[in-house]
Symmetry: C2
Subunit: 346 residues, 2 copies
């Protein structure tokens, strides 16, 4: 089987197992019709398509470090719950329309109920993590909780940074600003913590777990850049969100920062004029005009190159720092899985 085939197969297996576990954990039926609606809402995003990349990374690293993936399975599922409650609230905060190819939860049920459903799922994530007390014992359970606390603090700060750039109409951003925002908003919960949890569950040293901070930063930012790129050039059927949605939402991406660094002052003014419009005032022609500037200055190609560079860097770091790990199927799958991050189309 090709490496890509192996990655596809692995992700598929993880998705099947994680989805079943989560849907078994979440409440299903209630005789009060209103509460039944809440249950339907919290089960909605977990039933949609998606990669389940975070649990996959966590389980794979556990196995690569010689651990039993079963020990970290509950924790890996909690990473997916995290992703789901974050998405419910992110979609409201960004004013998004589509998620995983279907209307966002707040578009289906209204913002008030969707905020509350996100909170409900958030509580369920901690409830799932507390089950680790029975599965792994109290001490390890608290270590895992500490990892989740660390990543939670990162993700809300990263999210605040991005939202405040949009809210405060800030445009003079550097690549370094983008890097720092992405590390907090994306890298911690998408890569750093999943890998750390997998390694720690396998009994890895804290020093080994800490080695994933730098690797996960490179990988997480690469993931976010690829997400930004797909948002501009992806296929809506595969990508699952509205194409050009980031332009409508006024998102500050690496593509945009490169464009500002490359274009004339007059062009920058025009781009800002469009980007700063309220979402509902932006038309398709506006989005296409910004896209044409991005193409003119090869900003999308630049971001793709940057993303590729970061993944290669992460792979080199992984090979160097974990040369002592014995070769295994799991270890050999890490690099293709990581490359999937930038080769994916969804």
């Amino acid at each position: 089987m090709s490496e890509t085939g192996s990655v596809d197969q692995y992700l598929k297996e993880v998705k099947t197992a994680i989805d079943a576990y989560i849907l078994d954990f979440l409440p299903r039926e209630h005789n009060r019709v209103e509460v039944q609606c809440l249950y339907d809402m919290i089960r909605d995003y977990p039933q949609r398509s998606g990669k389940r990349l975070r649990p996959a990374l966590c389980l794979l690293i556990c196995e690569a470090f010689g651990g039993n993936p079963k020990d970290v399975f509950n924790t890996a599922a909690a990473l997916e719950l995290l992703q789901n409650w974050l998405l419910i609230h992110d979609d409201i905060e960004d004013g998004s329309d589509l998620r995983r190819g279907k209307p966002c939860l707040h578009q289906k049920y209204g913002t008030p109920l969707a905020i509350n459903a996100g909170d409900a799922l958030h509580c369920k994530m901690w409830e799932m993590l507390h089950q680790n007390a029975e599965i792994l014992g109290h001490e390890i359970a608290f270590q895992i909780l500490a990892e989740f606390t660390q990543l939670s603090n990162q993700v809300v700060e990263g999210q605040h940074i991005e939202l405040s750039w949009i809210g405060n109409n800030r445009w003079n951003l550097t690549e370094n600003d983008y890097w720092e925002m992405c590390v907090q908003k994306t890298a911690w919960y998408t890569c750093i913590t999943p890998c750390r949890l997998g390694a720690l569950a396998a009994g890895a040293s804290r020093a080994d777990a800490d080695r994933f901070i730098e690797i996960g930063m490179n990988l997480g930012v690469a993931f976010q850049i690829q997400d930004d790129v797909l948002n501009l050039i992806g296929e809506v059927g595969q990508y699952g969100k509205e194409i050009g949605g980031d332009i409508s939402e006024g998102k500050r991406t690496l593509v945009l920062i490169h464009l500002f660094d490359s274009c004339t002052e007059a062009e920058a003014e025009r781009v800002i004029e469009i980007m700063a419009k309220h979402r509902e005032d932006k038309r398709q022609a506006d989005v296409e005009e910004v896209l044409s500037f991005m193409e003119k200055y090869k900003s999308i190609a630049y971001a793709q190159e940057r993303s590729k560079f970061l993944v290669v860097k992460a792979c080199t770091q992984f090979n160097q720092r974990f040369a002592h790990l014995p070769n295994s199927g799991a270890k050999s799958l890490f690099l293709p899985l990581v490359h999937f991050v930038i080769e994916r189309e969804y």
Copy 2:
């Protein structure tokens, strides 16, 4: 000192100690200006006025059961964090203007940042609860986490029920519907769990802790009814929210249910016509018209009587079920504290 004086003094002492503890726990300064703004946001509601009733109940019951309130102090503070993140999100969900006499967080910073700040504070609540591992040991810490999980599940269901009545324009509600919604939305986190946690921290049996379920239901619903009443007839300076705000927000209260049970069909149609208007379309004259119907049918007085009846019932149950507890300053303060719930003007 009069009993009311004692209660005031006790609440003041609790407030001072809890506020200091929370503000010491929450992050204060960050060199990135955007993150500093997030820190300011999560420290905002905890610095506003308010009763700190939930920690007070928890600490008092712990003492009444012969425990050391210091053991449950961290947990009591987490109850206050819960209240604060719930309020941030509730205020968005309800479209409120004022909280504790000042503009709601989303009115100051916009909805996207406020949703995220609520999430940040929510995470901080669990982080504070995880500290119980060091304070009380792993086993008790997990018992407390289980109590918080139970109440979280209740509160999001109760909140969903109330919001869906408004969202689905439902009016044919009974007193029993209101009761069930209030038990879930209010009673668990305001009364049942605070008392349970206080008792359990003092080494009370699970049977004793369970006795607080019924007492706390009566007390919690009484608290909510009084809140609904103050929303209609309170002083904005003391109560801290816009008077008549529940009418603007379309809230289903006991007062309203009593009105529908009492008025003519034509009057009910008129009230629904007003109540069902979008918030921004409701004028002061609309609010006053609904209020005049409530006065005509003595619906506010009915709710006040009902609230009083429930508090007396809760007190009787407390005296009967905990007759075996030795008399103490703490035990004797419970009844006046509980009466404060319906006598308060804020």
